[in-house]
């Protein structure tokens, strides 16, 4: 009887640990919000071939996506945690407001809305951690490239 009770106790302990492990959220966005990282880059065709050290992680993508441009200068980096259904405004160096809206923060991909001033809006579905760019606003002899990463 004692051995049976001890075995039962051991199995209950193991089952409890396993249930606690299963209770830990496995989805990346169980809390219904998205972290958005916005990096603003000035890109120009002149000024000498140069990529700021702060942009080393984006360098391969920048050189491929903006072939023909040689000078990449990091201007700012901002990040925000945006609850689902809400927006956050990022101010760009030229005064334009970049509005990012968290539209769907569950599932495999994140659906976010991007609004560039009063010029255009777009909805993008992106896998967490992936980076895409918005480019074209003129700025000091070059253009602004906005690198947007959502997690």
């Amino acid at each position: 009887m004692d051995s049976t009770a001890s075995i039962r106790q051991a199995l209950i302990l193991v089952a409890t640990v396993a249930l606690c492990w299963l209770a830990v959220p496995t989805q990346a966005h169980a809390d219904d919000s998205v972290n958005v990282d916005v990096r603003v880059i000035r890109v120009a065709t002149s000024g000498g071939a140069h990529v700021d050290t702060a942009l080393e992680d984006l360098k391969p993508k920048l050189l491929k996506a903006f072939d023909g441009y040689e000078n990449f200068q990091s201007l700012s980096q901002q990040d925000a945690r945006i609850p689902s259904g809400q927006s956050h405004d990022f101010t760009l160096p030229d005064g334009t407001i970049l509005r990012v809206t968290a539209k769907d923060t569950t599932g495999e991909t994140l659906r976010i809305g991007i609004g560039v001033g009063n010029k255009f809006k777009t909805n993008v579905r992106v896998s967490p951690g992936n980076t895409f760019f918005q480019a074209g606003l003129p700025y000091k002899g070059g253009i602004l490239v906005i690198a947007i990463t959502a997690r």
Partner: protein, 194 residues
């Protein structure tokens, strides 16, 4: 005296006879002098024996009897008896719990490790999918400024996309060097995931 009668009288003296035998002996004692005399002899013998035993028991010392007996017990049999008085308390309880059911605890530990290994593989499906399948889909574009046009350039090799906003009056050289769009529309939406 007949042996059978002697045995009956001895059993009667020791109280080991049935009711019928008791009646038979009592009837016999009323008429048989030899039987009565034999029964008296049995009483004398019993009295003498009890006196002898009592005298011998008076000389016996019971103090330390248990210790003497215990000392003669083999050590491996005596050890648990010696340890029993000290096996109380929580520490002794847990020690016996683990030691006595080692097999069960080993099985439980192996099961817990197996569960942990399995859960580590299925615990973060989202992370694995991000590595294997990077998705960027520009679902829609709402152009609000007629002076600008929007182009989407998908770079499948680099798993990224560029949403270009260019003035309508600007030359298309820069956009043509970087775009893979088709058609004449100002807005090109790539609807296939990278």
């Amino acid at each position: 005296m007949q042996p059978e009668l002697a045995q009956l009288l001895e059993r009667y003296h020791d109280g080991e006879v049935s009711a019928d035998e008791t009646a038979r002996v009592e009837s016999l004692l009323e008429s048989n002098v030899d039987a009565l005399a034999y029964l008296g002899t049995l009483d004398e013998m019993a009295t003498s024996y009890r006196g002898i035993v009592a005298d011998q028991l008076a000389d016996v010392q019971f103090d330390g009897l248990w210790s003497q007996i215990h000392a003669q017990i083999q050590p491996e049999v005596a050890a648990p008896v010696v340890a029993t008085p000290a096996s109380s308390g929580i520490a002794a309880f847990f020690k016996s719990l683990f030691a006595d059911h080692k097999g069960a605890w080993i099985a439980a530990g192996a099961t817990a490790c197996a569960v942990a290994v399995v859960m580590s593989f299925i615990g973060n499906p989202t992370t694995e999918r991000v590595i294997e399948k990077q998705i960027i889909i520009v679902e829609s574009v709402d152009q609000m400024d007629e002076n600008n046009m929007v182009l989407v350039n998908s770079l499948k090799d680099d798993n990224t996309a560029v949403i270009w906003m260019l003035p309508n009056s600007a030359s298309n050289d820069e956009a043509e060097d970087n775009q893979d769009s088709e058609g004449d529309s100002d807005v090109v939406i790539e609807d296939e995931p990278l």
